[in-house]
């Protein structure tokens, strides 16, 4: 297990105890315990539909998820009492599986507002541009990023890089990355992994990473690996666990621990509707 040096930002700890979470009355998490310190990299694995994304969303405070039992603390502070933006400002970050497209809002305005929300005085323009350019170059993104609307018209890979870009700029103490590697080709995955590792070393950010791919974990080299089945972390270990799951799947864990794997139910996505008058051919409508 890799030991990382804790720098001047000091040690931070995210503690989760006996966390129960439900959505629309259905219990998804059924008692999760997890502790993450600065500079640690925790891999969170498990089949779809067993609670990985729910755990990350609940930590960040997504309004659709209800915590019914348990506690989440960050450096001793009660996270569950905090609004979503307060969780961000104390140093939590969630890189989302499906980043939102925000039409009309440029990346530049969005990032400046996000940075200024945690400062007492606005970030100087030159400092902002220099910081942004550095991150854009690190992630090998297009130089027009600042002027584009947040995630609008971005490819899947660009959206994921944009999440990492935000993480780099906001310098969280604990970052959660939800399937940040999906949508990335092999080369892009290497670039993103290198950027995450650089941030991990530079700022000692503690990481919780959800991925289905052994290849990504090979690049990231997690210090801890957890398997979540049916809303509980049933097994924790080191990188060897990633390799075994890659070859044998999850059934052996379910059998060994007497847990039923939840099968994901795919729901049809809700698409935007348009309400209006259809083309007509008539006279006298004026």
């Amino acid at each position: 297990m890799t030991k990382r040096k804790i720098g001047e930002r000091g040690m931070s700890t995210l503690n989760i105890k006996n966390l129960h979470v439900e959505i629309e009355g259905k219990e998804i998490l059924k008692g999760v315990d997890l502790s993450v310190n600065s500079a640690e990299i925790h891999a969170l694995m498990g089949p779809n539909g067993n609670g990985k994304s729910t755990l990350l969303a609940a930590i960040m405070g997504h309004p659709k998820y209800t915590v019914t039992q348990g506690e989440i603390t960050f450096d001793g502070q009660d996270v569950l009492k905090m609004a979503v933006n307060e969780r961000s400002k104390i140093g939590l970050f969630l890189g989302m599986q499906y980043p939102m497209e925000v039409a009309g809002v440029t990346n530049s305005d969005f990032l400046k507002a996000a940075l200024n929300s945690r400062r007492t005085s606005p970030i100087p323009l030159f400092t902002f541009i220099r910081t942004l350019e550095k991150a854009v170059n690190l992630l090998q993104m297009k130089s027009d990023l600042a002027h584009r609307y947040v995630n609008e018209g971005f490819s899947g890979g660009e959206k994921k890089r944009n999440e990492i870009l935000q993480m780099i700029l906001l310098e969280p103490k604990i970052a959660m990355l939800d399937e940040i590697d999906s949508g990335l080709d092999v080369d892009a995955m290497k670039i993103v992994a290198a950027a995450i590792l650089e941030q991990s070393v530079k700022s000692q950010v503690g990481l919780i990473i959800v991925s289905h791919y052994e290849r990504f974990y090979q690049l990231i080299q997690p210090t801890h690996v957890h398997v979540i089945l049916d809303g509980k972390i049933v097994l924790s270990g080191n990188h060897d666990l990633v390799n075994r799951i890659d070859t044998e799947g999850y059934d052996w864990i379910a059998q060994a621990y007497g847990v039923q794997i939840v099968k994901e139910i795919k729901t049809r996505p809700v698409t935007a509707t348009s309400i209006g008058t259809c083309a007509v051919k008539e006279r006298g409508m004026e």
Binding site: P63, N85, V102, S117, R118
Partner: protein
């Protein structure tokens, strides 16, 4: 008041009836400021082969205006409206695409804080004309919105295109928004489309912005500014664009 536009950019206020004409085969841009209390007519002719970028910036106390645009052959009109008024607004806009190959792009952004009636109409009278209308409205506290968006391809307008989309964002405490999209098609060799949406601030959008540190009000203001700022895309003069964006920022801070 009569104004002949030559090549280049200008900015002026409209406080009485006005006629504007472009010179043939020129590219010009104009910012019209609407301030105080205005009741007027505006007639604009875009002559053959010329392009006009017109930005109408409405910060008036009350506005009642009838606007008519005549587009000659191969002329282009980029028409943008930024409405940040706290007073009542009535605007009737008639765009006549009379010359073959004429094109109009209309973008409007309106922050509704008092009763607002907007009527936008494209009449495609000649062949191969193109019209595209994009309306964005944010329903602030107070005031109803009535918006008619009409694209009419007349029998003489073969091979023309008319498209329109309208998006209305309701903030908490807003009143009634009524949007009436119409496509009137009198020729079969055409293309036409429309899209309308109206709804609350998207919960997932808000959550996304909040998860980066913005509180609810900061997130709403950022999204409203985004909605309204898109109309300045058509302004080519960067200094002017920056100035108007600053004014939009200031107004949104005041009104949202």
């Amino acid at each position: 008041m009569h104004l002949t536009l030559k090549q280049g950019a200008q900015r002026t206020s409209l406080n009485q009836d006005m006629e504007i004409i472009t010179l043939a085969n020129t590219v010009s841009s104009l910012v019209l400021d609407f301030e105080d209390d205005i009741s007027a007519t505006l007639n604009v002719t875009i002559t053959e082969g010329s392009t006009l970028d017109l930005f109408c910036f409405n910060t008036s106390n009350r506005l009642s205006i009838n606007e008519t645009y005549t587009l000659e052959k191969d002329s282009i009109l980029n028409l943008s409206y930024g409405d940040l008024t706290q007073g009542e607004t009535l605007r009737n806009v008639q765009v006549n695409l009379e010359g073959k190959g004429a094109q109009v792009q209309l973008n409007s952004a309106t922050l509704i804080t008092s009763d607002t009636n907007l009527n936008y109409r494209f009449s495609h009278k000649a062949q191969h004309t193109q019209g595209d209308m994009k309306n964005y409205a944010v329903m602030g506290k107070g005031g109803n919105l009535s918006l008619y968006a009409i694209g009419h391809i007349e029998s003489t307008g073969a091979f023309s295109e008319t498209h329109q989309s309208t998006r209305v964002l309701n903030l908490e405490g807003s009143k009634k928004a009524s949007v009436y999209p119409h496509l009137i098609i009198d020729n079969n060799e055409v293309q036409a489309s429309h899209a309308e949406s109206t709804g609350q601030m998207d919960e997932d959008h808000l959550y996304y912005l909040q998860s980066r540190g913005l509180d609810v009000n900061q997130a709403i203001r950022l999204m409203v500014k985004g909605y309204l700022s898109s109309v300045t895309d058509s302004i080519n003069d960067e200094a002017l664009k920056t100035l108007i964006l600053e004014q939009i920022d200031q107004k949104v801070e005041e009104l949202c």
